[in-house]
Every structure is written in C-alpha cells, then in structure tokens.
Symmetry: C2
Subunit: 96 residues, 2 copies
Amino acid sequence: MLIFRGTPLYLAKITITLRKSILDPQGKAIHHALESLQMNSVQEVRIGKHIEMKIDAPNKEEAVLVTETACKKLLANPVMEDYTFSVEKISEGFGI
Amino acid sequence: MLIFRGTPLYLAKITITLRKSILDPQGKAIHHALESLQMNSVQEVRIGKHIEMKIDAPNKEEAVLVTETACKKLLANPVMEDYTFSVEKISEGFGI
C-alpha cells in the first residue's frame, strides 16, 4: 500500500529534567547502587525523562511550536521541571 | 571551606530508549492525551530515560569508560533498551 503523506515528518527529542533545587530520590538510589558496584568516581546522579515525538508539520517552525505547546500543556511540570528539545526533519512530504 | 578536587569533573548525559520493536504503553498514553488536547499532528510518542552523572576522572577516556560500565551493569536493560551518551568536562582539577 502506498501511503501518501502530504507534509514532512519531524522528530522532536525532548529532555525533561528536575530543577536543581528539587531533590531527586531516584537519582540518589542509582548513585547508591553504583557505589555498591565499586564505582566510586560518580559524584552525583540525576534522572530525567526523554521523550521522542514524530510530528507532521508543513515546516520546522510549526513542528517547534507543537513541541513547545506539548511541553507546556502536558509533558513538563513548570514548577519542578525544566525542558529542552531539538527538532529535525526525518522525511519529506511525498508518498512512502 | 576550600574543597581541593584533585581530578577534573565530567558530566555524562545518558539517553536510554526502548528498542523499536518493544511496545511503549506510556508513550501511547501521552499520544492519546495530546490528541485529547487537539494536537493531532503528533504521529507517535516514545518515552525514554535521561540520566546525568557527574564523574571524577583524570581524563575523558576514563569518564567515558565509567559511563559505559554504568550503562551496561546497571542503567540499561540490554534486551529491551538502547543507550547513547555524551561526556563533557565541566570543571578542571583545582581547588573550588
């Protein structure tokens, strides 16, 4: 079957991290586990989320806008978390 | 208090993602929630982990080795997950 895709496809890679002032018990637990494995050179561990979204958009600006909106409205908690993201085109708008 | 740090400090940023063949129910749930918010241009969502580690190491090769070992031994499940990482120097080895 030929799927005709009218618009390019973008891949957004989002990283959500806890703010520096927020304690990270999950990171502390991993740090402790690493110490149990004799990996004592590790000083601090912090855990965040990595989210990949495929977005249909006519141009990169539109894909960035969708990603920004998704982060603000749903993915990140603005009180406790910071987010960064990158957007790249992964396919052109033609039949695949 | 002056803390004398003998070796440079490196920051490793690790991204752990589920392999393509593994279903991602958490990603599906977020995709569904985005659709409820009328963000229909998002085609697929996949969730992974982002881990930041600060590592005391005499050089970058050593810091990379520690990160690689931590990923293999503890952080990633080699059957279901892939990992990528970058390592950068964030401070020289002098008193801070």
